[in-house]
Amino acid sequence: MSTVAKQPAIGGPATAGLELVGRRPVVGSPIEVIFRLAPGDRPLVVAGDALVAGAPIAERLRDPGVTELAANATEETARAGDRWMGTAPGGPRLRRGSAAEAGELLFENGGRWTLAGGEHTEPVESPLSGVVRDVRPGIGITVRAQGRVLHGVEALGDPTSGRLSLGSDRGDHRHPAGGLRSTSLDVGLAGTILVIGSRVDAEALTRARAMGVRGVIVSGLAGKERRDFLASESRQRAALHRLPPFAVLVLDGALRRPIAGPVAAVLEGLVGSTVALVVDPPALVFDEPGFEVTMPPVDHIRVRSGEHAGREGQWAGLAGMRRFTGGTFLEAGWVAFGGDPPMPIPLADLERFV
């Protein structure tokens, strides 16, 4: 069963020149998601394993350190990346570093292995279902995600999952002024992934995380808020008792603009469904086989950047080279917004949905 309504092909008189407008996929096909590992982290899965959402896939080492093992502590066949465990209560003699009962072999020098280990670990869970494609200790776990994806330009935080919810009932996510105030958050939103309009500030993000919100989807995240949130996230990672993973998915960029209509329609259709936010690549993954994505008309155009950023209209043909404010001459296309006469917009500022 097809779950994407087909668009008519480009080629008719009404769509002439439309192929010179950049394409943006509304939803994409399944992707490979990477969960990064650092030296010392312990993978709990092997290639070929089938995962269900919430399954632990690795143990992340907190405050890793290095230990140099004695020459007789390892077997001849030991290789970098192998797990090592102490064998007896007395264990092999450690030449340098603190005692470690287990860890990951890093490198051998002069017949002695150096080990990355530590006392405390924390679980890494897969927020999505899929199949493990590759496991590389110290590097990452690659999982072929089950379901379709909605791509963003950046994701911050850790992979997470939750029930999708609109940040407010007023359709603010489709409005340029739509945003999230920290005072509008309450514990009733715990476990959800919130869709927010054009911008969000770091205070609202940290409060959302503290309230148990699992993630936020926003159109734009300003650099200052991004930096503050990353600093907060870093402090949170250093804390002894960590909160559940939290992620921010940025759909468009750093400036204020509403979520694109066709993307907002998908998100509205997924309200109440469990979705995952992943960081590498930045995307929302949803596994709803029965959900049909309604594609906009083929001539539906969105202004991605520039003075009309966020507006959506209908393609009305190529306009050729035009002079724009600021004294620049750019290739342009005619776009009709609502019932207004078409106006020329630089082709480079436009996007169409496929």
Binding site: L20, G81, F107, A116, G223, A254, S305, G326, G327, E331
Partner: protein, 559 residues
């Protein structure tokens, strides 16, 4: 097609795709049209549009170069359109599919440069920075083994350059073994990692090969010492360039095109290209006595229009050139948007912001290539790259004058059709020179001549300038600290006679100079500002000054 009468030169960059249609007319290649658009757009669509416009503009010419297959009304290989016949009646025509000459950018790659200590690492790092790599660095004496291993295992690092003196210096010997051990540990886990063992580290080859096993996809290469070759360091640079992109890298190809251009014009040529993922500076001198041209090419990844995650240093650099009143946070946001959508938001103040970012990138490029700055001043500077795609020609000339502060008089031209890369891809040197010889007048938009006298003293007047163009002569008073703009249209040449009150440098030292100058979109720009350029500390005053300088050269801007 064995003997094409037209072809498409495609430059497929990371941010920009361009197509230039070139046809053979009267026994020489001519540029018939070009179009550049964001890279996300299908290059076939751009090519079709260029051909369609050429056919629509001049069907007879299009037919002469074989772009029209017939007026059948059927859709041809690349599409169909209505083109006006000479009689004025539109007719449906089918287009031919011209052969293509393609220069496709290689994705940017990251190299980790490691050595026992910072002193040993620096020359290797310099070589990597000059050959287009995004660089990271580490040294065994400053980085703990866990951090070093983490850096080595980062999947973004595609190539590892481990270097040591040949032989290793006394301060390196103690750490070389440990460094080799850590690298071996990483090599065992990353079969995809290409490793270059340079200088004294070559002795560790057997150890790394043993660690890597037999199923490696990445290579383990032996590299020369950091100072090997003539000139010193060239051997390592050649190797690093080969590993990064090989001879098909469009930026190296642009260097070859600059070399051919120098040969064709018999002039010293400098190419300055600022692109999305880096910049190129190529300095080429014509061959002497039939010899090959001498060319020095530096590819600097840091000289990108906007780096992937613009930090404070980049924001400061751009802020120093911007004429827009923005605080640091908003400027950083605008730069991040520019990175995400390099063609977006060019209207309004976007073009000025883009040009400020281009100036900052060009300054990085110039700072990273001191060896080329020390060469004799070129006769012609060719500006290229998507960073300048939306800027008016005279404003580009001013950007060059702002950043490349070298006393002398140079002609400036712009590679408006983005042909330097594709033409540099022509494998045969003779054919490349011939193509550039045919196209040189079409492919380079003349921006004018910049004259920068060095050593001007403050005062009310530095002297006088008389420009003899044809039978006309114009006189201009030379005011220290000012920019004098003398109208000299493209295609015109003139003799500029400078009479200075004091000794200045204009190529050589003297008071009186007669310089051949060529016209362009910006005319003759006599730059009497300080060398190097000194700007006010206060941001507001600096913006006003930059704005005033741009005012006279950005003719089309809103006032």
């Amino acid at each position: 097609m064995s003997d094409p009468r037209a072809f498409l030169a495609l430059d497929l960059g990371t941010a920009t795709s361009s197509a230039a249609l070139i046809g053979r007319l009267a026994h020489r290649w001519r540029l018939l049209g070009s179009l550049a658009l964001p890279a996300g757009i299908d290059p076939d669509a751009i090519s079709r549009e260029v051909v369609r416009r050429a056919v629509a503009a001049d069907p007879a010419l299009a037919r002469a170069v074989g772009l029209i297959e017939g007026a059948t009304g059927a859709t041809g290989a690349t599409g169909a359109a209505s083109a006006a016949e000479p009689g004025g009646r539109p007719a449906a025509v089918s287009f031919a599919n011209p052969p293509r000459l393609v220069a496709r950018s290689v994705p940017p790659r990251t190299i980790l440069v490691c050595a026992a200590n910072a002193r040993a690492r620096e020359p290797f790092l310099d070589a990597a920075r000059a050959t287009g790599w995004r660089t990271r660095d580490a040294s065994a004496d400053r980085t703990n083994p866990l951090e070093l291993m983490r850096a080595l295992l980062d999947p973004e690092v595609g190539v590892l350059l481990v270097g040591a003196g040949d032989p290793p210096g006394p301060d390196e010997r103690r750490l070389v073994d440990e460094l080799a051990a850590i690298v071996s540990g990483a090599v065992a886990r990353r079969p995809d990692l290409t490793v270059i063992l340079a200088g004294g580290m070559a002795d560790q080859l057997s150890r790394l090969e043993a660690a890597g096993g037999g199923d490696r996809r990445g290579e383990i290469l032996l590299g020369p010492a950091a100072t090997a070759g003539d000139p010193a360091g060239s051997a390592l640079r050649d190797l690093l360039e080969d590993v990064r992109g090989g001879s098909n890298d469009p930026r190296r190809a642009a260097g070859r095109a600059a070399s051919a251009l120098a040969d064709v014009l018999d002039r010293r040529v400098e190419l300055l290209e600022i692109g999305f993922d880096g910049g190129v500076r190529a300095s080429a001198s014509p061959g002497i006595g039939g010899g090959e041209p001498a060319t020095m090419v530096s590819i600097v990844a840091d000289a990108a229009l906007v780096p992937p995650d613009p930090g404070d240093a980049i924001v400061d650099r751009v802020m120093a050139w911007t004429t827009i009143s923005l605080d640091r946070h908003r400027l950083r946001d605008r730069l991040r948007e520019l990175r995400l959508s390099p063609w977006g938001g060019v209207t309004g103040d976007g073009a000025r912001l883009r040009l400020a970012a281009a100036r900052a990138a060009m300054a990085i490029l110039v700072e990273a290539t001191p060896g080329q700055s020390a060469l004799p001043a070129p006769d012609l500077v060719v500006v290229a790259g998507g960073a300048f795609a939306s800027a008016p020609g005279p404003a580009i000339a001013l950007a060059v004058a702002d950043v490349v502060r070298r006393p002398g008089a140079v002609a400036v031209a712009y590679d408006h059709a983005r042909l330097m890369g594709p033409l540099g891809m022509i494998p045969d040197g003779g054919e490349r020179r011939q193509a550039i010889s045919d196209l040189v007048d079409d492919m380079l938009a003349p921006l004018g001549t910049i004259a920068i006298p060095g050593g001007i003293r403050a005062g009310t007047s530095a002297g006088r300038l008389t420009v003899h163009a044809g039978i006309n002569a114009s006189e201009t008073d030379l005011v220290p600290g000012s920019l004098e703009l003398i109208d000299l249209p493209p295609g015109e040449t003139a003799i500029a006679e400078f009479h200075f009150r004091d000794m200045v440098r204009l190529g050589t030292r003297g008071r009186r100079f007669a310089v051949d100058v060529s016209g362009g979109l910006g005319g003759l720009l006599v730059d009497l500002r300080d060398v190097p350029l000194r700007m006010p500390e206060r941001a507001e005053r600096r913006r006003e000054l930059l704005d005033a300088w741009q005012e006279s050269l950005w003719m089309t801007r809103d006032r």
